[in-house]
């Protein structure tokens, strides 16, 4: 599937999958995002960076429908998603992970991934009650798919029936990605996927992000603090500071941008 998907969309590669226009979000007097414009090209990996409190997660939460913008537009795949509920946004094809891992802690690992597939399943409650054969078929297919995804993200099979909260930290991060992938998203939002990881784990996660785009043809939007990850994996970087976009460009451009150096990278950027 991935090869074909790549071929199809290569023509459309210039079209962007997300277009954010004049996006403003304020909480009372506090403006968390001010007049932000940015686009995410299809099949790219884009990072949002910025100091703490710059409004990165707020932006994420608006794209995933969790917050409604105060003003501005968000278009996903040609559809205006402002005003849609998070579940509708998820159904359109946006999957996400969280800065602080938020698994369904008291459900099993496999069940977590199966829940992730919810939006793609068709069995209705009355069909379930009637015990229609296709409900069982769908359930079996979901289980198989969930196992494939666990294998893809590298959660060992033996953890399948463990409660999610009993997993080691790194596995929990990977499980969260598997859950997000289960809904067959076109756009994956990763909120600090390497937070709390050691250098080895971080390197593996970085590789993994690259592989996701390559193998599944995903578009990935990343919030990340680790500059090595950001510079290594992203094609484009958007820099936020005090809720405003202060720069946008390729890693090289960002590295050279004086405003960015001033606001965020400091002397470290020259190193």
């Amino acid at each position: 599937m991935t090869e074909a998907a790549w071929g199809d969309s290569a023509d459309a590669a210039d079209r962007s999958i997300v277009e954010v226009g004049n996006l403003t979000k304020s909480f009372g007097g506090l403006v968390a995002n001010r007049d932000i414009d940015f686009t995410i090209p299809r099949h790219s990996i884009v990072s949002i960076i910025g100091p703490n409190g710059a409004g990165k997660t707020t932006l994420f939460n608006q794209i995933s429908g969790y917050y409604q913008p105060t003003s501005g537009t968000i278009e996903f795949d040609g559809v205006n998603i402002v005003g849609l509920a998070p579940n509708d946004v998820a159904e359109l094809g946006i999957g996400r992970t969280y800065q602080n891992i938020r698994l369904f802690a008291d459900m099993t690992v496999l069940a977590n991934v199966m829940v992730g597939r919810h939006a793609r399943l068709k069995s209705q409650w009355y069909e379930v009650i009637l015990g229609l054969p296709r409900v069982a078929l769908e359930e079996e297919a979901t289980r198989t798919r969930a196992r494939e995804l666990l294998e893809l993200v590298g959660v060992p099979r033996r953890y399948e029936d463990e409660l999610a909260r009993n997993l080691p930290y790194g596995e929990q991060r990977r499980l969260e990605v598997a859950r997000a992938l289960a809904s067959d998203p076109k756009l994956l939002l990763l909120d600090e996927p390497t937070a709390g990881m050691n250098p080895g784990e971080t390197a593996r996660m970085t590789q993994f992000i690259g592989r996701l785009r390559r193998d599944l043809g995903l578009t990935i939007l990343l919030i990340e603090h680790d500059m090595k990850v950001v510079m290594g994996v992203s094609e484009r970087i958007t820099v936020l500071d005090y809720g405003e976009k202060i720069a946008e460009g390729t890693p090289e451009e960002i590295r050279a941008n004086p405003r960015v150096i001033e606001a965020y990278l400091g002397k470290g950027a020259t190193a």
Binding site: A90, Y98, V128
Partner: protein, 576 residues
């Protein structure tokens, strides 16, 4: 160090003694004293006091952080100290209460209460017996704690079997007589309780069964596990056929009164299964569940009774689909306004809704339609065409209730193990993440409320037909609390748990009519004890069990329930 531990043991004794004094002062002990466990020999009150002393010993001998592995001697000593303190405290209270008349402030503390705890002897002698007996039984409890698992389990099972079988005398005696086994009945029972030889037989059989099932050297050891592990579809089918036949024959075997009790328990199984969807699966704490029970009962009464203002006098089975529709609508109506509320707020608002519904049925405002406090009488039997048996007969109404329970359990099982059940669980765990995963939480909450409402209304409908007349006071908050207690006792989210919970909490108290006055006290004690000792419930769902015990190794104890669980998937047949 030792002194510290003795003080800790004495503290356990004080708590137990205080609890016993409390139960005596409210008259509970006197009430249960009327019932015997061994005919003319041992009353239930003595058993109760003795078991408190034993439990005190068990608790006192329990390993703690300071003393993770107490030696047998030290543990026994602690048990004895705790028992002495508890018994002594009750003894001192008995002396005090017989010397000073406390009835002005404690109206339930009758002289006969005091006589009960002093075993009808002089207060001083009685107190001495309590003191020494407390020490002995406390030590016994401690020994039970230290003994290996198997003998402890044999003793405890035997003791529980004796008490339960004695309490169930009414049922079992009738049953034995029905089966033309009068000699057997007379061997075991005499004047409302077990005979001594009966008790010995019961105890030995119970202990032997435990030994056969558990002991490594037992000839059938492991058979059970192997059998469940190798359960094939055919053998489970045979099992279900056998269970079905037993269930069908049950009312004929046990007779009128026990059938009635089982019927009432069945109504609560239905309530429990419904509330389990709302609370156990979806995590919405609904404390006003009685509203649906009331709505179901009134719908049936209004549509079928000749005394209703509608005067339709329709047949129960004819209106059943309509009642289900009314129920689902009621679920949406009550569910919709509380969708945004979570946790405690939801609990309080639903509690209010429960009361509102009851008060509406009681109100003068709707008197024209609901007859207010006079209620609606003459709700006809749910007869079937061509079936002339009066179905309000406990033996007959049992069947519609059984049918409803089976259907409800099947529906609940299928939902729990599907996309729907997973969505509910996810919502319970983290609502906003569930939403970001693509679950429409509004719809799923309403679905949970509506399906819960349907089960509740169904139970209410059957209740109305069973009783034949309904009054607003049948729908007090106690119904909600009982239904909740049923699922907590049985185990949140567990279908077999609901069945066990309803039989224990609703069935047993009806056999022990004496308890009725103290029902709430018993519920409270049971719930607190469950939360402390076994928060996952008696028959926990596989998930809850791990959730609450994931740090400990799965011990032997859980294998037993695993057996219950492994039987489950076969229920779904086509689904699995």
């Amino acid at each position: 160090m030792t002194r510290d531990r003795m003080i800790a043991a004495a503290r356990v004794g004080l708590v137990a003694g205080g609890a016993m004094v409390f139960v005596v002062t409210i008259g509970f002990v006197e009430t249960v004293a009327r019932r015997e466990v061994l005919a003319d020999l041992l009353s239930l009150s003595t058993v109760m006091i003795a078991s408190v002393a034993v439990i005190t010993g068990v608790v006192a001998a329990r390993p703690n952080t300071r003393d993770p592995e107490p030696t047998g001697q030290a543990a026994t000593l602690r048990g004895v100290v705790a028992g002495l303190v508890a018994g002594g405290m009750l003894g001192l209270f008995a002396i005090f209460a017989s010397a000073v008349d406390l009835r002005d402030i404690l109206p339930n503390l009758s002289p006969s209460s005091v006589q009960t705890i002093t075993f009808d002897m002089e207060p001083l002698v009685g107190a001495a017996i309590l003191f020494i007996g407390g020490g002995v039984l406390g030590g016994l409890g401690a020994i039970l704690r230290i003994l290996p698992v198997l003998p402890t389990r044999m003793v405890v099972t035997a003791a529980i079997a004796i008490v339960v079988l004695s309490i169930m005398e009414q049922v079992l005696r009738v049953m034995l007589s029905e089966l033309e086994l009068r000699t057997v009945a007379n061997f075991f029972y005499q004047s409302g309780a077990l005979t001594v030889q009966g008790a010995v037989a019961v105890g030995v059989i119970a202990a032997a069964l435990v030994w056969l099932r558990r002991a490594p050297q037992s000839p059938v050891h492991g058979l059970f596990q192997r059998a469940t592990a190798r359960t094939t579809r055919r053998s489970s089918l045979i099992l279900y056929v056998v269970i079905a036949l037993l269930l069908l024959a049950l009312p004929q075997v046990i007779g009128r009164f026990p059938s009635d009790v089982i019927g009432n328990a069945g109504l609560y199984i239905l309530l429990g299964l419904g509330l389990n969807i709302v609370v156990g699966y979806a995590g919405l704490l609904d404390l006003g569940y009685v509203a649906f029970y009331a709505i179901g009962a009134y719908s049936v009464a209004l549509l079928t009774s000749p005394q209703s203002f509608l005067a339709l006098e329709l047949n129960f089975w004819l209106i059943l689909p309509l009642v289900i529709l009314i129920a689902a609508a009621a679920g949406v109506v009550i569910g919709a306004p509380v969708l945004r509320l979570r946790g405690d707020y939801l609990a309080i608002v639903t509690l209010g809704f429960g009361e509102i519904v009851r008060l509406l049925f009681l109100s003068d405002w709707l008197k024209e339609y609901t007859n207010a406090g006079q209620g609606i009488l003459g709700v006809p039997d749910p007869t079937l065409p061509g079936l002339t048996v009066p179905t309000s007969d406990p033996e007959a109404i049992y069947y519609p209730i059984l049918l409803a329970c089976i259907v409800a359990a099947l529906v609940a099982y299928r939902l729990a193990h599907s996309r729907v059940g997973r969505a509910w669980n996810a919502m319970r765990e983290d609502e906003s993440v569930a939403e970001a995963t693509g679950i429409n939480t509004t719809n799923y909450k309403l679905l949970a409320f509506s399906l819960g409402a349907v089960f509740g209304c169904l139970s209410g409908a059957l209740f109305a037909s069973k009783i034949g007349s309904i009054f607003p006071h049948s729908f007090e908050i106690l119904v909600s609390i009982t239904a909740l207690a049923v699922i907590i006792l049985g185990g949140m989210g567990s279908i077999p748990g609901v069945i066990v919970g309803a039989l224990v909490l609703v069935g047993l108290p009806e056999l022990l009519r004496e308890f009725d006055e103290y029902r709430l006290l018993v519920y409270g004690a049971v719930l607190v004890a469950m939360m402390l000792l076994r928060p996952e419930g008696l028959v926990p769902s596989a998930m809850r069990r791990r959730e609450l015990h994931d740090s400990t190794d799965p011990d032997e104890q859980y294998e037993e329930e695993a057996g219950v669980e492994t039987g489950k998937p076969a229920i779904s047949g086509g689904v699995a």
